[in-house]
Symmetry: C2
Subunit: 437 residues, 2 copies
Amino acid sequence: MNIPVTPPSGFRDFLPPVQALRTRAVEAISRVYRSFGFSQIATPCVEELSVLMGKAGGENEKLVFKILKRGEKLELSQGTSELADLGLRFDLTLPLARYYVRHQSSLPHPFKAFNIGPVFRAERAQKGRYREFYQCDVDIIGSDHLGCEVDVISAMFSALLELGVEGATVALNDRTLVAALLDAAGIPQDKRGEAMILLDKIDKVPEDRLMGEMTTLVGPEAARVVREKVLAPEGDLERLRSLAPEAVNRLSRIIKTLGGVFGKPERFRLVPSLVRGFDYYTGPVFEFKHPGLAGSLGGGGRYDGLTGKFSGRSVPAAGGSLGFERLMLILEERQGVAAGGPDACVTVFAEELRERSLGLAAALRGEGLSADVYPGLKPLRDQFKFADLRGCSLVLVIGPDEAARGKVKVKDLKSGQEWLEDEAGAAKSLRAKLPPK
Amino acid sequence: MNIPVTPPSGFRDFLPPVQALRTRAVEAISRVYRSFGFSQIATPCVEELSVLMGKAGGENEKLVFKILKRGEKLELSQGTSELADLGLRFDLTLPLARYYVRHQSSLPHPFKAFNIGPVFRAERAQKGRYREFYQCDVDIIGSDHLGCEVDVISAMFSALLELGVEGATVALNDRTLVAALLDAAGIPQDKRGEAMILLDKIDKVPEDRLMGEMTTLVGPEAARVVREKVLAPEGDLERLRSLAPEAVNRLSRIIKTLGGVFGKPERFRLVPSLVRGFDYYTGPVFEFKHPGLAGSLGGGGRYDGLTGKFSGRSVPAAGGSLGFERLMLILEERQGVAAGGPDACVTVFAEELRERSLGLAAALRGEGLSADVYPGLKPLRDQFKFADLRGCSLVLVIGPDEAARGKVKVKDLKSGQEWLEDEAGAAKSLRAKLPPK
């Protein structure tokens, strides 16, 4: 046999307990985003390559899983650059911009959207870095007001609180402030992009190595200024304000409002070295951090130029994305992963009694409980073992004696207690005995 | 601009009202599957090509979107058959078999699983046939008992009832009965597979054309027997039983049990011409029909040999899949698609009052309502229009007068009524005034 049973490198199967946790988290995040007035949208996993790569290709080129042309189109293609026409999306922001341009006449203005789903990146898989992973995006398109950043960050922060993730902090910065700082350090404009890419690695590589690379790029004097003025943990607010007054005033107001709304001003800070990777950001950027986690728990920013790629007309926009996989690391560690079996396992004593068991299970479901009927026919001992293995609370038996008397035997697997219920009232009675959900 | 704004052919964007309906349907189906004791699992969208194509390739070859190799691996490949190494899953059954073989030592036995997610097929897109669509699978692996078919079909039927889809019927058959019928018609074994593929088209092509093709394949005499004995709407049960006693007895018991559990015996029928497309089915097969819909609303069957592809050891298994996209057609038509805006839109009267509006919205959310704060700053008239466009019920205003007196002005957009609430108690009070969810 040479058919593999493991998924490809970087792709994952999820066992039931972990998947239950993932579904609950997606539902909780959706609930919070919805409670902020964001409407859920969806875009396909597959997009035209030209949408994903833009005109230049560039950085995204390496991220994209490309889909081979089919049939005749493949036969006619020449050279590896013509072999593919479609690709898997690597984020949810680029598809959102396409979506907005296509549907804007049917959408409210401004448009508050959220999108949760898998994205795909053809990077080398590493511990904690996957090639298929979930993103939970929330965006406002059509307004340049700082209320957008407040709304997006509030929704993300509230989603973390809803999941019981306490202690998150938000670092904020503005791309125009970074540009002004690099300018003030004497870094010429043509090296600004590369310098920003270096700054973005601050959490991933040691500072010494970072500064070594910065020195190579811009020379020792500019690198020294960057270390003192940009990488300083606390920026001198008045100096920053003098360099980029508009950006810093805007950031200060966003930070003050968020601190007020959540009653936790210390959680929202201006961090002048924050860049965020994607090159589509044009103004404020932000990143969620958590004490239990290296790297970020999500982030986002303003990307006023992105719709212009599709329509030639730029519409202001801001949004963010929770890093779902990192969030799961925190949730799994904190909550553990419960077995999560059904409330009740109904055994089948004999084939002619299966219908009685099925009827009982249906009644339990009618009361909002989950109830399993043993699908085969094995000795009761095996059926009890099956129930126990699955983390089920109660096992129910309708044997010939019980059936004749209209009774159900109940065993609580945790306490070991056994008792009889009337078959007709069993569902209601057991509902009352189980803890509320 | 030559970057397209529409998704590739066969792929779809979903506008907010439709997406809201889709999410509610997925959540309802998951709830029902869970209430039957099935555990949710997930597998990646991307699998190794060898998993998807099997050893022979065969029929699946045309279904699979193939993913181009990356970097050096691509450079080294020779000929179009070597260009791809990965592919997009075209169903959830094949990945489940792989998953089961890999993880069986960590899973209960038998294993009751459900999996809901997108699948991808490189077929030509047509009306109602998409290249990315959802499947909602439910399966039991590890038992050959007919209780599995009962359980799987019950869960699917109950999910339809939960969604308010009344009137579904289930056609059942057995692959071994079809084989016996074709045998009795004098069709040699080497033409049986092709004859089954023809029978599977019964809902898609006119009967005359079907019989024409059957005559070409097996000759006029055998085709006549097929028309009379296999395509007859009501099979002669005793004759069928004499041809394949085990299969027919099993089907009869499944049908009787389902009819009893749901109190609707007329909804479950033996249809001797039913085949179901995939070649992995080995025993009972079934298909859900709905009076409002040509074609099927889902189906499934027993596929005892599938895990053997991966492990060499076959484990009995049965499962089914609800056709989510067809289900959506029924739901959209019946329920219409509601606007579904937030419960309350909180306006921002002036920038210095934004924090008051944000605080009010937070209080509303604390009461379980959804509340939107206008992200920008526009005249109230525009903010009211925004609320109206989104189908919002209540618009709230805290202007300077209201702020000074600790009040909130409320307008009900449906009745046109306006009134004042105390800012402190507004959330509780409005919660009581809105209809319960």
